[in-house]
């Protein structure tokens, strides 16, 4: 046992020894001051004829300790207001507060970044990368989003992540975590273990990845995902796709978006416009449930976004959802705003 522990410690030390020296920012104006970042947005939705208003603010707090340790957290304040009588009457509702993550990162070296605290579960493409309000091309989350993100979308415990292999042609990235069961208000999590690995081919702009999770609470089930992201060279196109599998269902989504920069007329106007489309389908297994539909669902969505600047964006989308025996439309209209505010000045 002692030999094993010693061996594990030696391996960890040899991996972490790397470049734990100070960041080499000589010749740059990069500063390491605390930052208040995040986004706010306002989305007016009509789903199946029921209008709702969803104002949101998602502040992100970043506090660096030198250039190798970072404290970061993100909180979501989301209002959900709908008419008293469904499609008529005044709007009523409440504001929900969610702590997405509160974590401490040690940027030890390229290969290992230990993370501790409450973190977003690294499962598939959506949860960690595409979910933020100011990044999502369409505001409706995929139908199978809860596969691999149950129960709160976050885990509490340790996580390791980093770049396993780095070459001029491709990178292999990984995340591995263990989350404990936690009932503390705003920090709820389930007992899970899992990981994610992806290979990114730099010249091709192609990423292929997969995620695995073992849900270890009362119901022990496996969740898995495979995903692909591709940005073709010389074409302003972005394609992302994911297939998820769980005990209670499986599904896929494929999303494509393109900046209309190649429109030959009114170039200044169209280069800020983004066309988005997504197709997705879900198939329940073993009765579905656990945050997933209990019937088969198919949804198609198209959207048009307009970037006023780097930070302001107007969003709009229309979708049609096909359930067994109940089809309806989904409309979204609104805006998002991203902000980055340095707090204080850097000591020279």
């Amino acid at each position: 046992m002692k030999t094993k522990t010693l061996f594990v410690c030696c391996v960890l030390l040899s991996v972490l020894r790397g470049d734990a020296q100070d960041s080499d920012t000589t010749g740059t104006h990069a500063g390491y001051v605390p930052v208040a970042s995040g986004s706010l947005g306002y989305v007016y939705s009509v789903d199946g004829g029921i209008p709702t208003i969803e104002p949101q603010i998602n502040p992100v707090l970043l506090i660096p300790f030198g250039s190798h340790v970072l404290f970061e957290s993100r909180t979501e304040f989301t209002g959900f207001f709908e008419r008293r009588k469904g499609s008529s009457g005044d709007y009523t509702g409440k504001v929900y507060k969610t702590v997405d993550y509160v974590q401490l990162d040690w940027l030890a070296n390229t290969h290992v970044i230990p993370v501790a605290g409450r973190y977003l579960l690294p499962f598939g493409l959506y949860a960690e990368r595409l979910d933020p309000l100011w990044i999502a091309n369409l505001q409706d989350i995929p139908i199978d989003f809860s596969i691999g993100t149950r129960t709160s979308g976050a885990g509490v415990g340790p996580q390791l992540r980093g770049v396993a292999v780095e070459t001029p042609i491709f990178n292999v990235q990984y995340s591995a975590y263990y989350s404990v069961h936690n009932n503390v208000t705003q920090l709820q999590s389930s007992r899970t273990a899992g990981g994610d690995a992806s290979a990114y081919f730099k010249d091709l702009h192609v990423e292929i990845g997969s995620s695995y999770q073992r849900f270890l609470d009362k119901r022990q089930v496996n969740n898995a995902a495979v995903y692909l992201a591709w940005q073709p060279l010389h074409t302003p196109l972005d394609i992302k796709a994911e297939f998820d599998h769980s005990y209670t269902g499986k599904g896929y989504w494929i999303e494509g978006c393109s900046m209309l920069s190649s429109v030959p007329v009114a170039t200044n106007f169209f280069r800020r416009m983004q066309l988005v489309g997504r197709d997705e389908q879900f198939f329940p297994l073993n009765g579905g449930g656990n945050g997933l539909p209990t019937v088969g669902v198919r949804r198609g969505e198209g959207g048009l976004n307009y970037y006023i600047g780097d930070d302001w964006r107007l969003i709009s989308s229309y979708g049609r959802q096909f359930n067994s025996g109940h089809n309806f439309n989904l409309w979204d209209l609104g805006f998002t705003y991203r902000f980055v505010w340095p707090i204080g000045r850097e000591k020279k």
């Binding site: 790397g18 960041s23 010749g27 740059t28 104006h29 990069a30 500063g31 390491y32 001051v33 605390p34 930052v35 970042s37 970043l62 660096p64 970072l70 970061e72 990162d105 940027l107 390229t110 970044i113 993370v115 960690e128 990368r129 990044i135 992540r161 980093g162 292999v165 780095e166 070459t167 001029p168 042609i169 491709f170 292999v172 990235q173 990984y174 995340s175 690995a197 290979a199 730099k202 010249d203 997969s210 695995y212 022990q220 089930v221 496996n222 969740n223 898995a224 495979v226 992201a229 940005q231 599998h245 769980s246 005990y247 900046m259 970037y307 600047g309 780097d310 980055v340 340095p342 850097e346």
Partner: protein
């Protein structure tokens, strides 16, 4: 209620993990040994940073980004964790975004 173990799911997961390990251990070193055009190129740190931005950041963020210089180091630390960037990529980005 006791849910039976989902053996088909486990088999799928095992297959996915096995295929990744295979890619990482067999295919990747073979590709890495091939001399590429990229290895012959000599780029300035700013050009490398621009390439890192195009390869990684631009997949979710629209260039150009307006980040105050004094916050750039912090933001890139955050993105290095989130996007699993290497240390070299972090350094190149710093030179590109806050030269």
């Amino acid at each position: 209620m006791q849910i039976p173990r989902n053996k088909p799911g486990a088999a799928l997961c095992t297959a996915i993990l096995a295929s990744f390990l295979w890619i990482a251990s067999v295919i990747a070193p073979l590709i890495a040994q091939q001399p590429s055009q990229k290895q012959k190129e000599i780029l300035t740190p700013e050009q490398r940073g621009e390439r890192v931005f195009a390869n990684n950041c631009a997949r979710c963020h629209r260039p150009p980004m307006t980040i105050p210089p004094q916050a750039t180091g912090t933001i890139i630390m955050h993105m290095r964790v989130r996007a699993r960037l290497s240390r070299q990529e972090e350094q190149d980005l710093l030179r590109y975004l806050a030269p």
